[in-house]
Structures are given as C-alpha cells and as structure tokens.
Amino acid sequence: MAAGSVLTFVIVGRDDHPIFEADLTSKASEVVNRDDRAQYLHQFVLHAALDAVDEQIWTTTNMHLAQVDNFNQLRVSAYVTAAQMKFLLLHDGKSEDAIKAFFKDVYEVYLKVMMNPFFTPNTQITSPSVHQRIRAIAKTQLKA
C-alpha cells in the first residue's frame, strides 16, 4: 500500500472560522483506512498555522505566502486574498509553483461563488459542484 500523501485544503474566513474544508488526496482505499486521529492532527496543524499567516501578511503584498509553517513532515502553504480570506493547504512537499497555480485556480472558483447573489459571504460553502471543481483542480495542478 502506497504511503498516504497528505493534502488538506481549507478556506478560512475573516473571523478565523473555516468556510470550506476538503481532503484532496486521491480516493482509492486511503479514505477507508484513514485514521481519524490523522484528521484531527491535520485540522490542528492548520489552525495553528493561522497565527503564522497573520504574522506574514503584514510583511508582504503578495497574495501567495509560500510556506508559512511546518510540523514534522507536514508543511502548510497559504494564500491570502485582499479581503483577508485565507486559503491554506496542508501538504508534505509539493512544489511551491504547483501550489501557487492551484491557489490561483481555486481563487477563480471562489470568486465565482462570491458573485452568486444567493451566497452570503463568510458562510459555509456547501455546494457539491464547488467541491468537485476544487478536487479536479487539485488533480490537475498537484498531481502533475
């Protein structure tokens, strides 16, 4: 069995609450065998990384903050929009360029969600088609 690669993506709103979470590893049998504790660990690491993101956003006007935090083998990369929405990706060593392209594509999807007049900003994104699209982007950008 191949070692599971870690790939969790979270969009965090202005008040530090997640409005979107997705586990982007490829389906296969890893989902069934996935340890619940690993899930909690991922969430914890992402949450802890928010502090690091907050420090870094004042130092640069870039949207893409490469790697903001790491914990053992897990790394967290972040992307912050002008409206202070944070996109966080928990991974274990993908190339920063691929991650940057991933974030940019996800930002486009997020923008379309924002344009939807029925969507209240800063609330949970529950649309299944958004989930699907983000998974598809992850497949193209982060597996290539």
Partner: protein, 183 residues
C-alpha cells in the same frame, strides 16, 4: 476571468439606477434608503472581490483608499476621483468633479419660497442662488444611496468598516465623506 470583457451601454446603467430608486420608493415594505443600501452593499462587496483578484494585496488604510479612488472608481464611473483629502484620523473626503451617475440630474430647480427676493435660478449652475443648493442636494440624496452603499460595501469587504455620506450641493461635482470606525 480571462474572457474578453463584454461591454454594455452606459445608458443602461444610468436608467437602471434611476429605476431602482423609483421602484423602491414605491414599495411599502422598507424605506427607500434601506433597500438601496442593501443592494449597494452587496454589489460593493462583490465588485471589490472581483477587482482585487489579480493585484497585490492592500496592507494599510491609505492603500485601500487609493485603490478605491483609482481602480475601483474607474470600474464604476470610468474616471478617477479628482481629489482626496484626509484628516489622518479616519475621515476621508473624495471629491469627484463630474459625477457620472448624477450627470443627468438637472441642477435647475425652482427656488423654494424663501424670503429671498433675488431668484436667479434660471441660469447655469454657476449662478445658482443660495437657497436652491441645499434643495438640489436633497433631491440628489435619493440617488446617492446606491453609490454610497457600493463604496461602503467595498470598504467593509476590504477590512475597513465605515460610514459613507455624500454631498451633492455643487452638481455635477459630488463629495463623498468616509468615516472609518476605529478599532
């Protein structure tokens, strides 16, 4: 987002904003100001999100205000703000010398029946007698709720909760006063 931008006649936008005011003025469920504020706020947020998507982030208050005065104003009104003043304590005044959305608003109002014998309101704007200026401003306020709300929505979305008011005493120029809530 890389699609070629579709264009739309500006007249459509002007007529739409006029009709919004007329429609909601006739509704009984909510006062005009509240309805148009709600519309404008939402539009402001979405527009701010869209306009900032491919530019570097804005880290401080002044950057946000400059963005509003330049890029945002160009998106909405096809021109930049002409003058920006601030007291460096959270109040900004944006002066637009030729506010497009009010350009069709006649500044030629009949003077109110005040105790002012000299009524020379039939001339061009420069000769407006004093009593008709506040009246012009009041008449324009209905139409200014929408732009004010759009600006407020954009600023709130970019992290600056504020209040926006407009002063149209000197049509076609329009002053927008923005008070940013501290803390």
């Amino acid at each position: 987002m890389e699609r070629p931008r579709r264009t739309c006649a500006e007249t459509c936008l002007e007529l739409l904003s006029l009709q919004i005011v007329h429609y909601y003025a006739g509704q009984n469920q909510a006062p005009l100001a509240a309805s148009t504020e709600a519309i404008g706020f939402r539009v402001g947020r979405q527009l701010a999100e869209r306009c900032t998507w491919d530019r570097p982030r804005l880290v401080d208050q002044l950057d946000v205000m400059k963005f509003i005065c330049k890029e945002f104003w160009i998106e909405l009104f096809q021109k930049q703000v002409d003058n920006l003043r601030t007291n460096h304590r959270g109040t900004f005044v944006l002066k637009d010398a030729n506010f497009r959305w009010l350009s069709k608003l006649s500044s030629d109002l009949p003077a109110p029946e005040k105790a002012d014998a000299t009524e020379q309101n039939a001339g061009p704007v420069a000769n407006d007698s004093m009593p008709s200026r506040p009246a012009a401003n009041e008449a324009a306020q209905d139409y200014l709720h929408l732009p004010c709300a759009i600006i407020r929505g954009a600023l709130t979305h970019l992290g600056l909760p504020c209040t926006v008011s407009a002063d149209a005493s000197a049509l076609p120029a329009c002053d927008f006063t923005i008070n940013i809530r501290a803390g």
